[in-house]
C-alpha cells in the first residue's frame, strides 16, 4: 500500500479583520427605530465617548471571505482522522446539530416558568436517566459546563459529604490522592476544592501502585482518590475494585475521571466497580462537537449516598409525570453555573444516545477499542511501546528508538501533518518520556487506520534515513513552526492600530 503525503493547494492569505476594516462599511441592517427617539435618562459620564474606535467596519461578504479563508487553515475531524489521545475526537453527527437548532429549544429563555418549559426539562431528565444507566451511578447533575467543571463539582461533593459525615474531624481529611499519570485538571480541581495533593506512583506495568496507595492511605488524612479508568496510558485498572476498597477502608471516597468512558460504555460501569462519583465529557464520549476548544458539558454522576450534595436545582419528575426544578436540597454544594448548564450540548448528547440505541452504544465502544488495538499491533515493531498490557481505546508509544537519531516526539507529530493526519497527543501522560498517545476512536475504518499506520512507519524510516527531514517538519503547511518561546517572552495578545505600536 502506498502512503500518500499531502499536496500543497490554494491557501489564501487573510489579514486580521481590523486590518481589513474600512471606515463607513457595514454588514448589517436593523429596522428603523419605530419609537419616538427621546433623550435617554443616562448621564453623559455614564456613556461611551470613544465611538468604539478600532472596532471593524466591514461588509457581509468581507466577513464571509474572512472566516471562510481562515477556516481553510484548520484541520478538523471532517477532513480526517484526529487521533488525539484522551480527547476522543469522534465524528459529530449533523443530525445532532439539527436537533439543537429546533426553534422550540433554541428560542427558549432559561428563566421560563417550568410549566412552559416542560419539553426542555424532559430532555434533561431523560438524558440524566440514560447517563445514570450507562455509569451505574444514579445521582446526576448536568450543570457543569466541561470536564474540569464536572471534576470540581465531584470533588466538592466529596468534601461536603466528608464534612457532613465527620463534622469537625473532617478538617484533618484534606488530602486527595492522584496518580502521576493523571490529567492536569485533576490536581487543579482538587486544589480549588481546598485539598492538598499527594501523588501515587504507577507500577512498571503502567497501573496504580497498590502498595504505594496503601501506604498513603495509612496516614488517615485521605479524603479520596481521583482515578482515570482506563488510565491515561490506555490501560484498564484491573485492580479497580481493590483500589476502591482500600480507599473506602481508609474513610475516603473514589472519584473517577470519565474522560476515557469511550472505552467502557455498554461494557462496564463505574458504579459496579466501587466508584462513588464520576464526571463524563459529553463532548468526547457522546459526540458533541469540540468547536475548536469548547463548549463542553461535564455531567457529574454519583451514588445515592452522595446525591443530596449535587448542585441545585435538581431536575425531577413529579408523580403526575410533570418535570420540575427542585431547589430544596439543604446539603447541596450550591450552584456551579447560571441556569442549567450547556443545554444545547445535552440535546446533542441525547440525540447521539437515541440514534445509536443501546446496542449501537456498545458497538461504538467495541470499534473504538478494536481500532486502538489494531494501531498498537501495527506500530509495535516500529516504535517503542513502553507498556506490554493490552490497551483499551488508546495506546501510548514513545520516541525512544527515533530519539537515538535526534528525532523526537514533537518532530514525529509535526511530520504526521505532512502525511495529512492530525498529530496524536504528545508529551502526555507526563510519566512517559516522549509520550505519543494515540486514540483513533470508532469513527475510522480499516483503510484509514492502515494509512495512518503506513504514515507512522514511513516516518520511522525517515527518522533513520533522513532525520533532518523529520526535524524540520511540517513542510507543506502555510506556516512553519512558530517561535513559541519568543511569543511567551513578549506576549502580544491583541491587535493594536499601527500608531499605538509605534508609541
Amino acid at each position: 500500500m502506498t502512503t500518500a503525503k499531502v499536496t500543497k493547494h490554494l491557501s489564501p492569505n487573510e489579514q486580521l479583520i481590523f486590518e481589513r476594516s474600512q471606515t463607513g462599511r457595514i454588514g448589517y441592517r436593523l429596522p428603523a427605530l419605530d419609537v419616538d427617539k427621546v433623550e435617554l435618562n443616562i448621564p453623559a459620564e455614564f456613556r461611551r465617548d470613544d465611538d468604539l474606535e478600532g472596532m471593524p467596519e466591514v461588509s457581509e461578504v468581507d466577513v464571509i471571505r474572512h472566516f471562510i479563508r481562515m477556516s481553510t487553515w484548520n484541520y478538523s475531524i471532517d477532513i480526517g482522522m484526529y487521533p488525539l489521545g484522551s480527547c476522543t475526537m469522534k465524528y459529530n453527527s449533523r443530525l445532532n446539530e439539527r436537533v439543537a437548532r429546533i426553534a422550540g429549544f433554541a428560542n427558549l429563555h432559561p428563566l421560563t416558568d417550568e410549566q412552559d418549559a416542560q419539553g426542555a426539562l424532559q430532555v434533561i431528565y431523560e438524558l440524566q436517566e440514560h447517563l445514570a444507566e450507562i455509569t451505574g451511578l444514579p445521582g446526576i447533575s448536568l450543570q457543569p459546563a466541561a470536564g474540569a467543571h464536572g471534576e470540581m463539582t465531584g470533588i466538592m461533593i466529596i468534601r461536603a459529604f466528608l464534612d457532613a459525615r465527620d463534622g469537625a474531624a473532617a478538617s484533618h481529611r484534606r488530602t486527595m490522592l492522584i496518580p502521576d499519570s493523571a490529567h492536569g485538571t485533576n490536581p487543579a480541581s482538587a486544589h480549588l476544592s481546598g485539598f492538598s495533593v499527594k501523588t501515587i506512583r504507577s507500577t512498571s506495568e503502567g497501573l496504580t501502585d497498590l502498595d504505594h496507595l496503601r501506604e498513603l492511605c495509612a496516614h488517615g488524612e485521605v479524603a479520596g482518590l481521583m482515578l482515570t479508568n482506563p488510565n491515561t496510558l490506555g490501560l484498564f485498572e484491573r485492580n479497580i475494585k481493590q483500589i476502591c476498597d482500600i480507599v473506602h477502608e481508609a474513610g475516603g471516597l473514589v472519584y473517577m475521571d470519565g474522560a476515557n468512558m469511550n472505552a467502557l460504555v455498554g461494557v462496564a460501569r463505574p458504579g459496579d466497580m466501587g466508584v462513588d462519583v464520576i464526571h463524563l465529557n459529553l463532548h468526547k464520549t457522546f459526540s458533541t462537537p469540540h468547536g475548536g476548544g469548547g463548549p463542553g458539558c461535564g455531567p457529574c454522576c454519583c451514588t445515592k449516598e452522595l446525591e443530596p450534595f449535587l448542585p441545585v436545582p435538581r431536575i425531577v419528575k413529579s408523580g403526575d409525570s410533570t418535570f420540575r426544578l427542585d431547589y430544596d436540597q439543604p446539603r447541596s454544594i450550591g450552584r456551579v453555573k447560571a441556569f442549567f448548564g450547556n443545554y444545547g450540548m445535552m440535546l446533542r448528547a441525547l440525540s447521539y444516545t437515541l440514534t445509536h440505541g443501546n446496542d449501537g452504544l456498545r458497538e461504538a465502544t467495541e470499534a473504538a477499542v478494536l481500532n486502538a488495538r489494531y494501531i498498537a499491533a501495527g506500530l509495535v515493531e516500529h516504535y517503542d511501546k513502553p507498556f506490554s498490557g493490552s490497551p483499551m481505546h488508546e495506546v501510548v508509544f514513545t520516541d525512544k528508538r527515533q530519539s537515538r537519531k535526534g528525532v523526537h516526539t514533537l518532530d514525529i507529530a509535526k511530520r504526521l501533518i505532512d502525511y495529512g493526519f492530525h498529530p496524536m497527543t504528545i508529551y502526555f501522560p507526563l510519566i512517559v518520556q516522549g509520550a505519543m498517545l494515540i486514540e483513533p476512536t470508532e469513527s475510522v475504518g480499516r483503510q484509514e487506520l492502515d494509512q495512518f499506520i503506513a504514515a507512522m512507519r514511513s516516518i520511522a524510516s525517515e527518522a533513520v534515513e533522513d532525520p533532518e527531514l523529520v526535524r524540520n517538519a511540517p513542510h507543506d503547511t502555510r506556516i512553519g513552526r512558530l517561535d513559541e518561546a519568543a511569543a511567551a517572552r513578549k506576549p502580544v495578545l491583541r491587535w493594536k492600530p499601527a500608531a499605538d505600536l509605534r508609541g
Binding site: 486580521l16 454588514g27 419609537v35 435618562n41 461611551r48 468604539l52 478600532g54 472596532m55 466591514v58 457581509e60 466577513v63 472566516f67 478538523s76 475531524i77 477532513i79 443530525l95 429546533i102 426553534a103 422550540g104 429563555h109 432559561p110 428563566l111 416558568d113 412552559d116 418549559a117 424532559q122 474540569a148 467543571h149 490529567h183 492536569g184 487543579a188 482538587a190 481546598g194 455498554g266 460501569r269 462537537p289 468547536g291 463548549p295 456551579v336 447560571a338 442549567f340 443545554y343 440514534t355 440505541g357 443501546n358 446496542d359 478494536l370 489494531y374 501533518i417 492530525h422 502555510r478 506556516i479 512553519g480 513552526r481 517561535d483 513559541e484 511569543a487 506576549p491 495578545l493 491583541r494
Partner: protein, 434 residues
C-alpha cells in the same frame, strides 16, 4: 480486523476488565431511532415548550437579540466546529486567528488591555475573577451587593467556599436600585475584590468610576460584571471607569437563548495581571521565514503544566461560542453594535414610560437604566405574568419574587431591538387589562 490482532471475538477486547465487573446484559436505554423518528420525537418534545413561541420581554442574564444569518453559517463550518483546541498551530491557524480577534474585540468593548480566549459563561467567569483578585491582592474578602444577579452570587459562593474567601453581600439602595454607595462604604483593608454588576440585576447603571476610586483607595481590585453585554455599545467602558477585571456574559452577541447555554464568558483585565489570568490566551508569533501566525501562549499558568498551582482548573472553554460572538461583532461592527445598543435603550425607555403611566403600575427604582427595568404591579407578579402568558401569549418579564420573596409585586422587564413598537404596545395594553 479481530483476526489481524489475533482475537476470536469482540468480547476478548475487554479481557483486561475482570469478568465480574463487565456488564452481563444490554444497557437499559432505548433501541436505535432512525433520523425520521428522532426528529419527530424531538419536535414533539419541543412543543411542550410553550415559552419558546411567545413575544418575550425576559432578560435577567439571557437576552433575545437579532442574530445575523452569517453567524450560524460560519460556526457550522466543519473546519471550525469539528476542530479541537488549537494545540498544533500549523494546522489550527483559523481557530487561533479567530480567538486573537475575539480577544481584541473584548478589549475594545470593555476598555481593557488583555482578554482571554473565553470562560464557560458570565457566572463562572465572575467566580474566577474573585479567585484571581485573591491571588493578586493576597487578601481574602470579596464584597458584592444584592443587586448582583442572584445566580451569579450563588456560583461565586460555591467556587470560593473552600478558598478561604469570605463573600459579603451588601444591600442596594431601595430608592435608586443602585448599590455602588453601599459597596464603597463596605470596602476595607482586607478587601480583595469589590464586585459590581452594571447594569445591575434590576437594570440600573452603577457609578463604576466612583466605586473604582473607593476600591483603589483601599488597595482592593474592582471587578465589574455585565450580564447584558449589548450595553457596552452605549455605556462607558468599565476600563475607562477604572475596572481591574471585567467579566461579561457574551450571549447577547449572536448566541441563541437555548435554555441557558452554551453561552460564553468574556474575561478581561490589565496587562500587569496577564500572568494571573485563568484560561487560555492566544498570542502573536512568527516562524523562521518571518511569517505571522498565532499560538496558545503563557501556558505556564495553566493546569496541564502547573497542575495544582495553576491559575484555574479550566481546560475546555467555549471556543465555538466565542467564534459566534466574534462573527457577530465583526458583522455588526463598530456601527451596528452602537445602533443595536441605542435601539435597546430607546425602546426600553419608551416601554418604561408607557407602563409607568398605567393605573396601578409604578417603577420603584429611580436609577438610570439601559434596557431592563423593574415594574411594580397591582397584584402578585407571578400570577400577573402567568395570566399574561396564557391569555395574551406574552412573556412579560421575570417575577423578582423567584429570587427575592420580599418583592411579591415586582417584575423585571427587558426590551431589545427585536421587540417592535407593536409588541411593546401589546404588552402595555395587556398589563392595563389584568
Amino acid at each position: 480486523m479481530l483476526e489481524a490482532i489475533g482475537l476470536q471475538s469482540a468480547e476478548e477486547l475487554f479481557d483486561s476488565i475482570p469478568q465480574n465487573l463487565r456488564l452481563q446484559r444490554p444497557l437499559n436505554t432505548p433501541a436505535a431511532l432512525s433520523e425520521i423518528e428522532l426528529l419527530y420525537r424531538f419536535e414533539q418534545i419541543a412543543r411542550h415548550n410553550a415559552g419558546a413561541g411567545r413575544i418575550s420581554f425576559m432578560g435577567g442574564g439571557a437576552y433575545s437579540h437579532y442574530i445575523p444569518t452569517v453567524v450560524d453559517h460560519i460556526i457550522s463550518r466543519s473546519e471550525f466546529f469539528t476542530a479541537y483546541t488549537p494545540y498544533q498551530p500549523e494546522i489550527s491557524q483559523g481557530t487561533l486567528q479567530a480567538i486573537f480577534e475575539f480577544q481584541t474585540l473584548v478589549c475594545q468593548l470593555t476598555g481593557m488591555e488583555v482578554a482571554n480566549a473565553s470562560m464557560y459563561d458570565g457566572s463562572t467567569g465572575l467566580a474566577e475573577a474573585v479567585l484571581m483578585a485573591e491571588r493578586v491582592t493576597k487578601r481574602s474578602k470579596a464584597i458584592a451587593s444584592s443587586a448582583l444577579h442572584p445566580q451569579y452570587a450563588e456560583v461565586v459562593r460555591t467556587y470560593v467556599q473552600h478558598a478561604g474567601i469570605h463573600l459579603e453581600l451588601v444591600p442596594f439602595d431601595e430608592k435608586t436600585g443602585q448599590s455602588w454607595r453601599s459597596l464603597a462604604e463596605a470596602i476595607d483593608e482586607e478587601t480583595a475584590a469589590v464586585v459590581v454588576q452594571s447594569p445591575n440585576f434590576f437594570g440600573c447603571i452603577e457609578d463604576v468610576a466612583a466605586l473604582s476610586e473607593a476600591a483603589h483607595a483601599k488597595g482592593a481590585l474592582l471587578v465589574v460584571t455585565i450580564t447584558e453585554a449589548m450595553s457596552l455599545g452605549l455605556l462607558r467602558s468599565p476600563g475607562a471607569c477604572g475596572a481591574d477585571i471585567v467579566v461579561a456574559e457574551g450571549q447577547s452577541f449572536g448566541v441563541p437563548l437555548s435554555f441557558g447555554g452554551p453561552y460564553v464568558g468574556l474575561f478581561a483585565t490589565r496587562e500587569k495581571y496577564a500572568r494571573q489570568i485563568p484560561g487560555r490566551l492566544v498570542g502573536e508569533a512568527y516562524d523562521k521565514e518571518g511569517r505571522r501566525g498565532f499560538v496558545l501562549t503563557l501556558a505556564t499558568r495553566e493546569q496541564h503544566i502547573r497542575r495544582e498551582k495553576a491559575t484555574s482548573n479550566i481546560c475546555t472553554n467555549e471556543g465555538l461560542i466565542a467564534l459566534a460572538a466574534t462573527v457577530y461583532l465583526e458583522t455588526m461592527g463598530r456601527r451596528g453594535v452602537q445602533e443595536a445598543a441605542q435601539q435597546c435603550a430607546q425602546k426600553a425607555a419608551y416601554a418604561a414610560r408607557a407602563i409607568s403611566k398605567l393605573n396601578g403600575y409604578t417603577l420603584p427604582f429611580s436609577g438610570p437604566c439601559f434596557n431592563e427595568f423593574v415594574v411594580r404591579g397591582p397584584v402578585r407578579a407571578v400570577e400577573l405574568l402567568a395570566r399574561l402568558g396564557k391569555e395574551k401569549g406574552i412573556d412579560g418579564g421575570i417575577a423578582l419574587s423567584r429570587f427575592m420573596p420580599d418583592r411579591p409585586n415586582d417584575f423585571l422587564v427587558c426590551v431589545t431591538e427585536v421587540n417592535s413598537r407593536e409588541q411593546i404596545d401589546a404588552l402595555v395594553e395587556a398589563l392595563s387589562k389584568v
